[in-house]
Structures are given as C-alpha cells and as structure tokens.
C-alpha cells in the first residue's frame, strides 16, 4: 500500500510537469507586443495580370523563374518552387485577375498545428517557416484552410515552401518584393488596420466598381493578406464558406480538457481501484 501511495505521488509529479507544459494553450493573437500586424492589400481591379510579382518573388527568394503565362480559366497553383501565382478567371464582369499566396492569418492554423514552432507568426504579422525546427510532419499542410504550405516531395532534405511576406526584406526596412515591383500599384503594404481603412474607402468611393466585401477581413479569423474585387469572390476561386472564427479555435476545447483529465483521471482511477479491492479478496477466497 505504501508503495502505491508513493507511486501515486510520482504520478502527481509528472502531472504537474505536464500542466506547466500545457499552459500556453491556444494560439492567441500576440497581445504582449505593441507592434501592429502588417499586411498586404491586393486590389484585383487594378491588377493587369503582368506576372511581374511572380518573377519578383522568384528572384527575391532564389526560386526558379515562373512557368506558364496567364490564360483565362486555366488555374495554375502555387507549388514547392512557386510561392505566388496570378490567374485569370472568367467572371460575370469578364476576365478578372487574382493573385494567390499565403494569407498570413492573424491566428494561423499552421502555427497552431506545428509541434516545434517551425511555422511561426512574427510580431510584424508575417507567417514564416524555420527549417532548423521543422521535422517535416506536414501537419501544417493538413491544417491550413487555404492549402498554402508546399512540401518538396522529391528531396532527401525537403523544405516547406510558402510566401513569408519577404520578412527579411521587412526587417531591412523594405517592402515585400511583389509589392515593390507591381507596376499597376495593385498591391500595397502597410499596417493591417490602415489597409482595411483604405479598402473600405475605395469601396465607399466607388461602390459600383467593387463588391462590398474585403476578403480576409473576417475569413479564418482575419488574414494579413486582404483582397478587393469587382466580382463576388467565389468567382475568383476563393472559398467563401470559410468560418470567420480562427481555425486554432477548433481544437482549443480539446486542448483545454487535457489538464482537467490529467488531474481527474489518476484520482478517479485510484479511487476505483480502492473501491473494487474487495472483489479481489472475494475472488481469492473462491479459488
């Protein structure tokens, strides 16, 4: 019995350690810093489909030159060597362009999924990938509602590729390569709050030109990349049924139940064991 009790305290000790580990549950928006999230606003009504952003991105990140030209209705996808693509869609208002890349969510599913914090939302708002931590489990890809992280399936030392908002350029005081090189000024970089104001203003000033919807303002709990469009977003291949709550919120309930179970279960199991001890004695007598 004495041993049992001692072992029980051992269990309690481990429980305590797990509780301490489990403290930082949920990927809450970083409130400890005063830095506001930055983002990028893409106005598809200004985009001319010149693909300059694609080549600028490839050059800035040392990736191969983009392949293929834009053809209405043909959907090219980002992949492990192309972090951004522009596609043309046949919409109700004719041919409309849309640029696709990482959305840089406020509360990204990928960073909540990552068990090593290799996927990481920086204070400035860029969602980046850190190779020295990543074990290549691809849970970020499974979780991302936009299917953004891409994996090098044909490499013995595979990397995860995705837009990182050119965060090294950002720390040098520059803007992302795609924004800097866009000849049509379809892309602007700034604080997310200011970008939403600017987007609202454009919609209010030209209500006929835009649909009254900033994609990314609320989708998936809000994203750093924001979109304006002349046509409803589902015509541009956007998923318009995404929840407005953040994706990490979906597993929060489960994670919060972990410490509870860790405290209740051992106590309950020990209690059950004591309560059923008589059974054993009875059975022993039987034999």
């Amino acid at each position: 019995m004495a041993v049992n009790r001692r072992s029980f305290f051992k269990v309690l000790g481990v429980t305590g350690a797990s509780l301490a580990l489990g403290k930082e549950l949920g990927a809450a928006p970083r409130s400890k810093s005063n830095v506001e999230f930055s983002g990028i606003l893409y106005d598809s009504t200004r985009c001319a489909g010149c693909q300059t952003c694609e080549s600028a991105c490839a050059e800035a990140n040392g990736l191969p030159e983009p392949v293929g030209t834009i053809e209405a209705g043909v959907i090219r996808k980002t992949d492990e060597s192309h972090r951004t693509v522009v596609n043309a869609y046949n919409s109700t208002k004719g041919e409309v362009y849309a640029k696709k890349q990482c959305m840089h969510c406020n509360e990204p599913a990928c960073t909540a999924a990552c068990l090593t914090q290799a996927m990481y939302k920086t204070e400035e708002g860029a969602v980046i990938w850190r190779g020295d931590k990543c074990m290549g489990c691809r849970y970020c890809m499974v979780s991302c509602p936009f299917d953004i992280p891409k994996f090098e399936y044909h490499s013995a030392n595979p990397k995860i590729e995705k837009c990182n908002m050119c965060f090294t350029r950002l720390s040098d005081g520059k803007v992302p390569a795609c924004v800097e090189n866009c000849p049509a000024e379809a892309l602007i970089f700034g604080k997310r709050r200011d970008l939403i104001k600017e987007a609202r203003k454009r919609i209010n000033d030209n209500p006929d030109q835009y649909v009254d919807h900033i994609y990314g303002e609320h989708e998936a709990g809000g994203t750093g990349f924001l979109y304006l469009s002349a046509v409803p977003f589902n015509e541009l291949g956007f998923n318009t049924t995404l929840q407005t709550e953040s994706y990490p919120a979906l597993s929060k309930g489960f994670l919060y139940s972990v410490p509870t179970i860790f405290v209740l279960w051992p106590a309950m199991l020990l209690g059950l064991r004591e309560a059923t001890k008589n059974n054993q004695n009875n059975q022993d007598e039987h034999e």
Partner: protein
C-alpha cells in the same frame, strides 16, 4: 552485486548473461514456415523501399500530394494501429483498476502487443517525416509547440511507451532471472497503469483531435467536433477486438506454452470481452446517431459518400455489435471471432474515412496509395509480428512465470 550476478547465472543453466543473451538471439524452431516464406521477401522489399524513400524523398515511393499530405502511413499505420493497440489500456484498467482477476492471464500478451504496436506504428511515423533528424525538437524544446495537438500526441506516445515498458518489464526481469529488479519493477506497475490509462485517454482522442482543424477538408458525415470522443470510444472496442483476434491466433500458434488452467479460462475471457465490445459499440453507435442528427446532413445520405457512411455504420458497427450479442448468448466462440474481425474492419474503415477517403473527398485527383506504400506497411506489420514471436518464445508472456516468482 555479486549476489544478483550469481542468481542470473544460476537461473540460466550456468551460462553467463552475455552468452545467454547471444544464445537467445538465435532463432528457435523451424525456419521454413509459411509465415516466414511470405514475410521475409516482403520485409526485404520494404527495407529496399525505405532506403529509396530516404535517398530520393517521399515522392519517390508514395502518391502523396500537396493537397493530401497524409496518406496510408499516417491514416493506417499510425491512426488505425494505435486504435488497435488500445486493448492494453482497457485490459490494464479492467485488471489493475477494476480488479477483474479473470482477465489477468492475458494482460501480459496484450501489453506486449500494445507496446510493440506503439514502437512500430509510431515508429512508422519516422518514415513519413520529411526531416526525421529533427524529431527530437519537441522533446528537447527546440520549439515547444504547446498549442499543437500533435505536440500532445508526440509526448504521449513517448511517455506511454515508457509506461508500457514498465508494465511489461517484470516479464523481462523473469526472463533474465533478475529477482531484485523484478521486485522493484513490479512495484511500479500500478503507477504505470494509472499514468498509462490517463495518457491513452488523451492521445486516443488526440489522434481524432488532430483533424479538428480540417473542418472544410473532411466530408461532413465524418467531420464533427466530437471526433476526439468518437476516436476514444471506438478505441475501446477496437483494442478488445484485437485482443480477441490476436488471442485466437496465439492460442493456436503458441499452444504448448499455455497452461491447462488458462486454456480452460480462455473461452470465458473471450465471452466477457465480447460483452464489453457490444456495450461500448452500442454507446458508440448511439453517439454517432446523435452527432449525425445534430449535424443535419440528411440530404448527404443519398449520395455515394452517404451510402459509404451507412455501410460503415450499419454493416461494420451495428451488425458486428448484434453478432457479439448473439454469439455471446449462444456461447459461440467462432462467431465472436467473426464479430471481432468485422469490428476491426469497421475501425479500419472509420479511421481511413476520416483520414484518407473522406479527406478532400471532392478533389479531382484522388490520393490512392502506391503498391510501395502498401508493401512498407506490410513490412512494418511483419517485423512487429517477428519481434512479438521472438519475445513470446523466450519470455514468460503466455507461459507461467518461473517458480521463484511466487516464492516469498
């Protein structure tokens, strides 16, 4: 020190410990059994494929895509394999917590089966990792991703393997003739059991919780916020069905190792397990109905995926459940085994429906595993069975422990 050394020497017919271990490594019995003839080529082929995989990347032997990054190796090897290993925590709960002594004779083999399942199926995870050399990062703290369900699952796998090793360790001590070690290790059993059950509750459900963020990717008939609960409840009857299935094979293959008394008790054990299976399957079926009604997906039933869902629920949950009850009443052990196999098929179906078949179900190009992914999976299973057989033929798992154990 001298003393314990002597006991080892004495217990192993005067051979030294190393000699003894070397001798035990050698195979026992016939070489050319049908099982060996089938398994050896597959294991060798699997080994070659694994080398190719680490040399040329995952894409060289798998059909994984950017949209479906987790395939057979996660959906079957890890998620389904761990559900089948659930028998260990259920049986230790029954025997050590609820004091149901009737089941004591099958605890060791079940814990061994569970432990090896974790080592091999969680080990199969390493094959699936793109950068496996970083696998220790969440343990050493090169990023504690505490908001990740996978972080929880990884830690629990590791801790539970330790707990199971402690639960099984008295058998190893008996094999080595280490009396004092056996005494210390068996004193730790209850703590390991309690810790192990707690861990199992959390990571059996945690494997389901991994998919909670895939709200838009998994077919709505299989996605709900209750996936973790479903995974936990189904792991109970998945594990017990595995115990019934494995028991029916072990009792034939290792016939000579089992004592008369345990042979006689076996049918009563199987009947008892079938009753527990039926009850938990009823609870599971009821929960599934609640979730379905709550989800308001009546329109989806009349689609191909809907028929598939109905097949899983009625053909592989309700039917084997009824079969368990029927064969329990009729005392038909053969039918109980059929029910156990059907239940296992149902669990495989359910886990694959969540992780592979229902994942991105509307995608134009569907993920279908390559023959090489199947071969590696088979190789992993065969290797596990080899180790399982090796241990049973040497350690007192099925056979009675050495006489000195009961001396006081």
């Amino acid at each position: 020190m001298n003393n314990s050394e002597q006991t080892i020497t004495m217990d192993n017919d005067g051979k030294s410990t190393w000699r003894f271990l070397l001798g035990e490594l050698k195979p026992k019995g016939k070489w050319l059994t049908p099982f060996n003839i089938i398994s050896i080529p597959i294991m060798l082929l699997g080994l070659v494929l694994i080398i190719v995989r680490f040399w040329k990347g995952l894409g060289s032997i798998t059909n994984l895509t950017q949209e479906v990054p987790w395939g057979l190796w996660i959906g079957f090897d890890v998620v389904t394999g761990v559900a089948f290993a659930g028998g260990a925590y259920v049986l230790t709960f029954m025997v050590y917590i609820m004091n149901m002594q009737k089941y004591h004779s099958i605890v060791r083999i079940t814990v061994l089966n569970g432990f090896l399942a974790y080592v091999f199926y969680a080990g199969a995870l390493l094959l699936d990792l793109g950068r496996p050399w970083n696998v220790i990062n969440p343990i050493i703290g090169n990023g504690f991703g505490t908001s990740s369900v996978l972080f929880l699952v990884a830690w629990h796998f590791l801790l539970y393997m330790v707990a199971q090793l402690i639960e099984f360790s008295p058998a190893i001590a008996e094999w080595l003739g280490a009396r004092r070690a056996r005494k210390i290790l068996s004193g730790m059993t209850i703590a390991a059991v309690i810790f192990g059950i707690t861990l199992s509750t959390l990571h059996q459900s945690g494997l389901g919780a991994l998919y909670l963020m895939c709200k838009d990717k998994i077919h709505p008939l299989w996605y709900s916020e209750f996936i973790p609960v479903m995974f936990f409840v189904s792991s109970i009857f998945a594990g017990l069905s595995m115990v019934i299935f494995e028991g029916s094979i072990s009792h034939k293959v290792f016939f000579d190792q089992i004592s008369e008394k345990n042979h006689k008790a076996h049918n009563s054990i199987v009947r008892g397990l079938s009753k527990i299976c039926a009850v938990t399957m009823f609870a599971y079926f009821f929960l599934q109905i609640l979730v379905f009604v709550h989800g308001k997906h009546w329109d989806l039933l009349n689609t191909p995926m809907g028929y598939w869902y109905l097949l899983e629920m009625f053909g592989f949950v309700l039917l084997p459940m009824s079969l368990f009850i029927y064969s329990f009443r009729r005392n038909n052990i053969m039918l109980i085994r059929v029910a156990a196999i059907m239940t296992m098929l149902g669990v495989i179906l359910n886990r694959l429906n969540v992780t592979v078949i229902g994942f991105k179900w509307a995608e134009a190009i569907r993920y279908v595993p390559t023959w090489m992914e199947f071969t590696v999976t088979l190789a992993v299973i065969f290797t596990e069975i080899w180790i399982f057989r090796w241990v049973i033929n040497r350690m007192p798992v099925l056979r009675e422990p050495p006489a000195w154990v009961n001396e006081k």
